[in-house]
């Protein structure tokens, strides 16, 4: 098991490498060749699906009782999404949604 410093350093390096690969990829492979259609399709459709997977697991799922720790995250995500749908100002949407979450959690939990 890696300890603190080296775990973080290696994690950052791995993520830096992954990011670099996605950016270098088209330049390294397709400077002289036609880009295959399936690849364009994948690169276009995958990120949207991934974003949903990133939001969904941090949402609590229970059908038993409607406690604040259940509905506050859902409400805050809805506030963020609605704000962004109508105003399309990323920072405003994030601040509004987070403020909603922090305030309601402080008051009700």
């Amino acid at each position: 098991m890696l300890s603190g410093f080296w775990y973080i350093a290696l994690g950052i390096l791995a993520m830096a490498l992954a990011t670099l690969i996605t950016r270098v990829f088209p330049f390294a492979l397709f400077s002289r060749r036609q880009v295959p259609e399936w690849l364009v399709r994948g690169a276009r459709l995958i990120p949207g699906a991934v974003m949903l997977v990133l939001v969904f697991p941090s949402m609590p799922l229970r059908l038993s009782n409607l406690a604040p720790d259940l509905w506050i995250p859902w409400l805050s995500v809805a506030v963020t999404a609605a704000a962004h749908w109508y105003f399309r100002h990323p920072l405003f949407s994030i601040i509004l949604g987070t403020a909603c979450y922090m305030l309601l959690s402080a008051l009700l939990m």
């Binding site: 775990y7 973080i8 994690g11 950052i12 791995a14 993520m15 830096a16 490498l17 992954a18 990011t19 670099l20 690969i21 996605t22 950016r23 270098v24 990829f25 088209p26 330049f27 397709f30 400077s31 880009v35 259609e37 399936w38 364009v40 399709r41 994948g42 690169a43 276009r44 459709l45 995958i46 990120p47 949207g48 699906a49 991934v50 974003m51 949903l52 997977v53 990133l54 939001v55 969904f56 697991p57 941090s58 799922l61 995250p73 805050s76 995500v77 963020t80 999404a81 962004h84 749908w85 990323p90 920072l91 949407s93 994030i94 949604g97 987070t98 979450y101 922090m102 959690s105 402080a106």
Partner: protein
């Protein structure tokens, strides 16, 4: 005779071009640095990440993955798939970067969503070296991002208040990116697939460990979607 540095004119144009990103990167970077420190990490990881990774969504995700002790391989694969969109960016800049040499490697490394947006909409000013102009825009953007995240991390280190609930800003960021994706894709398919995968993993009781599995299954799943029409990806 007017005296000026060789690229002063280009620099002014690049700075003017990068201004819309200045405010956004400073503030979102600030939030990232703050969150990183509040998750228990030392402040210097913020500039280190900003210099080496330089990808907003991936860096926000990295906080959670590092804090919950995910494996290095998981982090690698998750970031590879979130940043898959960068592959599309490269395709439309192949021509523009073809003639470049000195800063080509850096331009490719620093191709974030925002830098891509600027470089594909703004032309270098007349008489300027296009490669220097593009490299300056990219470098300025990265300097805003690294400065903002360092300030956020330092601020978080000196602030005694732990800002309970601040970690929700990560979910909020991904929600914003999700809304952006919904608006630009204009088709429900990829999202329905991802939702189906999440629900299925939840039902088999894999909620906590399922992040990577969910990402991979959704990424494979989108290839089974029917095509919208001729010429459409």
């Amino acid at each position: 005779m007017k005296f000026s540095l060789p690229h002063a004119h280009t620099f002014r144009a690049a700075f003017a071009t990068s201004l819309p990103v200045l405010f956004g990167y400073l503030s979102i970077g600030f939030a990232y640095g703050f969150l990183l420190v509040k998750a228990g990490f030392a402040w210097f990881w913020a500039p280190v990440s900003g210099i080496l990774i330089f990808a907003g969504a991936a860096q926000f995700l990295s906080i959670g993955m590092l804090a919950s002790g995910r494996s290095i391989g998981e982090m690698f694969l998750a970031v590879l798939l979130i940043n898959a969109r960068h592959m599309v960016y490269g395709f439309s800049l192949l021509e523009r970067f073809r003639a470049f040499s000195r800063f080509r490697a850096y331009l490719i490394f620093g191709l974030t969503d925002e830098t891509y947006g600027l470089l594909t909409t703004v032309e270098p000013p007349a008489g300027a070296d296009a490669e220097v102009f593009d490299a300056l825009v990219t470098g300025l953007n990265q300097s805003y991002w690294v400065s903002g995240s360092t300030m956020g991390a330092l601020f978080g280190s000196v602030l005694a208040w732990d800002a309970p609930g601040i970690e929700f800003s990560m979910t909020a960021l991904f929600t914003v990116l999700l809304v952006e994706q919904i608006r630009s894709l204009r088709r429900p398919g990829p999202f329905l697939i991802a939702l189906g995968v999440c629900v299925a993993l939840y039902l088999v009781g894999l909620k906590e460990q399922s992040l990577l599995l969910g990402i991979v299954l959704s990424a494979i799943g989108v290839f089974f979607l029917p095509r919208k029409g001729a010429g459409d990806a």
